[in-house]
């Protein structure tokens, strides 16, 4: 009885804070903030209206190398954003099949085709050396940033 009253006194409750911020974009007064399709849907829409940016088997039952794969994906994302500076207009999609890693995404046509070819070879060579896997860059280009805008908030 005594312990019950102690427990009761020790428990503090506050009202629930329903503030969820991640993956959501605040609307602007004039509705001028551009969003891509990926940005337009909140995280709970993954698997319904939009799909994953990393595709691999680590999170299936009995999957291996979950942590290593996550770290490698993050490394690849950072390397890509740095190497293709200010060129990606979509998220970087990393798909793994067996030991093959496919990196996909949408680019702006801001640099010449020659530079783009060089960067493709450079990225594939360096990443395959670091990750010890064959890497394939499968990119799509758009004329302008506006071509991937889904809506304005």
């Amino acid at each position: 009885m005594q312990s019950a009253s102690l427990l009761q006194r020790g428990l503090h409750t506050t009202s629930v804070v329903h503030r969820i911020q991640a993956g959501r974009y605040k609307r602007t007064p004039r509705r001028e903030k551009p969003l891509t399709y990926e940005m337009a849907w909140p995280p709970q829409a993954i698997g319904h209206f939009k799909s994953w940016n990393s595709w691999n088997t680590t999170n299936l039952v009995g999957g291996l190398r979950a942590s290593e794969t996550a770290i490698e994906d993050e490394f690849v994302r950072r390397f890509m954003t740095g190497t293709w500076h200010n060129l990606f207009v979509s998220e970087i999609i990393i798909k793994r099949q067996h030991n093959m890693i496919r990196i996909a995404g949408i680019l702006r046509r801001a640099i010449s085709a020659q530079k783009m070819y060089f960067l493709i070879g450079y990225t594939e060579e360096l990443l395959s050396y670091w990750l010890q896997c064959p890497i394939k860059l499968e990119l799509q280009t758009v004329n302008d940033k506006k071509d991937v805008i889904f809506k304005y908030v």
């Binding site: 891509t36 399709y37 691999n56 794969t69 999609i93 067996h98 030991n99 996909a104 046509r109 004329n143």
Partner: protein, 342 residues
Amino acid sequence: MLHLNRSLDVCNKVLYQQLTKLRFISTTACIFTNGPSTGSKNEQSFNDDDEFRVLDLKRIQQKQPFQRRPMRPKAVVPPPRTQKMAEDQVWSDVWPGPRTFHPAVVPLPVRQGRNRHGPSPDKFGNAELMKIPNFLHLTPPAIKKHCDALKKFCTPWPAGLETDEKCEQHFPIDVITTDYCHSSPTIRDPLARIVTMRFKLGRLPMDRHSRDKFLRLVRDRHDVDTDTVTIVTDRCPLKTQNYQYAHYLLTALFHESWNFEEWEKEKLETDMEYYDWDLNPSKSKVVKIVKAIDPSVDEENLPEEWKSKVDNYREALTQLFNKGENTDTLQNYKDASLKLLF
């Protein structure tokens, strides 16, 4: 103190000399740099008047009017390849292997995405289409091509193994192993080491004793309904080792069950795996009943009338204990008992 002061003086002197040197050098340098670049008339007149020259760092004198750098011509982007494609092209040549979706290569008006206020996004600049796996390289004609290419490596099915029964007869042992395909740089999986071996117990040459001993050794690894023994080995790190260990277990079990140890003679009636009428008190009671009904019969050599009744009763009771109680065995037991008694 004195000594220190003197040394300080020496220091100052040296510093001064160095400074003047430096100044001299810097002034000459100024002249060199300014001389050829700003050789205007004004400067000449300043020099003539023995005035200090004005260092024109910002070059206000010869400032050019601002000119916009000419625009680089924009790269000409050809229209999507899909517009030039022939209708009767071979699709497996265009898309030979697995690849991320590309809108300029796939001549289909596909769309993906959900839009509450209009049509869903089309294929150009659509990242959703690039995420999902596609099977554009596995069209039926492409699969047919693959099969045709692989056909020359195939061999005919061995003669004499046409049916499942024949296969089972020639290959009585089933070995089940599993290979795992992960999306990772390694092909190793610890679960791939497990080996399952299955065989029918009836295929092993055994007598009543060795079969009983085998069953006691394998315990619940024997399935009574299908008469199948399943041995799973996973204690060794490699698949081959587990495979060999499973075969070793089979050999060891077989030979051990054929061994008859001295202590096996101590088997009591409670240790029996089946109901044996001859060893049970039921037999002595039946003999007693038969004697009570007809005291003249010899229990060792029963007459034909009694023998059939007793045999019938024995069979019914054995079935009842060994097969379990059900309508048939109970009915048989009842009939046999009635026949024996009345």
